[in-house]
Symmetry: C2
Subunit: 239 residues, 2 copies
């Protein structure tokens, strides 16, 4: 097991943190509060251990590019991905160790800072509190939707829903109904609670139904409204 950190750059004046954060999707008046704290830029490789379950999480993580996931293992060894973090999103520190592990879905560039540097600023600034409060509620909202997805939808709808959510969260062009699918079929299975074999069949199904077209990792949504209907995807929960 090789830990996948490369390109760890110490805080340098060449790149201002506030600028990096803003450029990666954080509102600049929020990012400005963090201009002086020490940070690292880290690269995480897909499907390599990045943070193990049970480790302490005395750090903030912010996704500059790529996608991170939080995952848990059942005692039977089966893996479930419980949350995703896209560009501009992040993972807040905890006081206790966290039950979940963190991995990259694709090659991901992220920014980390120590909780002890981050938290005091957060506590001193009501504006920041409100901002992170809203992020937390959005994540809660997404968790609930995932629970509905796993608990109450059949396998086709589950996969379709994930694709719709991913398209929207990764900022799919409204003109160009297509995206590059970031997931392996095993990852889709780990998110939607299935086996990769069945995910494969579902993809083939969606293609046969004329809802998507696949060219390698590219997915073209050929009938977005119908796709949304099949997925029962109502994007309100993403705000």
């Amino acid at each position: 097991m090789q830990v996948s950190r490369r390109l760890k750059i110490a805080n340098s004046n060449s790149e201002a943190l506030a600028g990096i954060l803003a450029e990666a999707g954080m509102p600049s008046h929020i990012a400005a509060y963090f201009k002086d704290i020490p940070y690292k830029v880290v690269q995480a490789d897909p499907r390599r251990p990045f943070r193990e379950p049970g480790a302490y999480r005395d750090e903030v993580i912010f996704v500059r590019s790529g996608i991170l996931c939080k995952y848990k293992m059942d005692s039977g060894g089966r893996r479930q991905i419980v949350a995703l973090r896209f560009r501009g999103e992040g993972i807040l520190p905890r006081e206790e160790s966290a039950q979940y592990g963190i991995q990259a879905i694709v090659k991901t560039e992220l920014i980390t800072a120590r909780a002890e540097d981050f938290t005091p600023i957060l506590e001193a600034q009501p504006e920041l509190q409100r901002y992170f409060w809203r992020l937390i509620q959005r994540n809660e909202s997404i968790s609930y939707e995932w629970l509905v997805n796993c608990g109450r939808r059949d396998s086709v709808a589950r996969v379709a829903h994930l694709l719709c959510e991913t398209a929207v969260r990764s900022g799919m062009d409204d003109e160009q109904y297509k995206m590059s699918n970031p997931f392996t079929q095993q990852q889709v299975a780990d998110i939607t609670g299935q086996t990769s074999v069945n995910v494969n069949r579902v993809f083939a199904d969606l293609e046969r139904q004329g809802l998507i077209e696949r060219k390698g990792r590219e997915i073209l949504f050929q009938d977005w409204p119908e796709m949304r209907r099949v997925a029962s995807f109502q994007p309100d929960y993403l705000e």
Copy 2:
């Protein structure tokens, strides 16, 4: 559809809010901050609409006794319960309307206050922020565990896990491995993503295996360690 609010008591001097909160499980130094805000004591009846999905949530809710649930409906009309709130737990206000509805699982007594009275106090007190921060992280942790439950465990483990969690969260006596099951089989189905028919079979299974014994609504855990193993229940995620 009859809204189930009774016993709505205006803020009276006869009962001090801080006292009520503390008595229902909130640490008293936390409860003390809320001694002066207006509140209502409300009673909610099981399986009756209490707050509809999509409604604004400009209120804090605190459970004095009983159990509340948050639920969502899939567009196919199937219902999924996404979270529970036991005695001493609560539901925080949102800026936007919430996608989920709220109902009582059993007859529940709760305390509500307006967000506009609550939030300013929260924002002014770092100690309160840290307290609610921890509650939020616990809820996140539970959500993730539920996702693992729905996505990666078979129906017996799902139900067993719910029973274990419920026993612990409702404060089952460590000497007396028994509790009064608060759920109908339909509610268990709505939590674990199954049909009530199958939940019934799972209960019968658990009993046949000698893991539990049922007398009406009472459940006696006859082999708690084995029950935990079957459920793959590791209570760490509850803190």
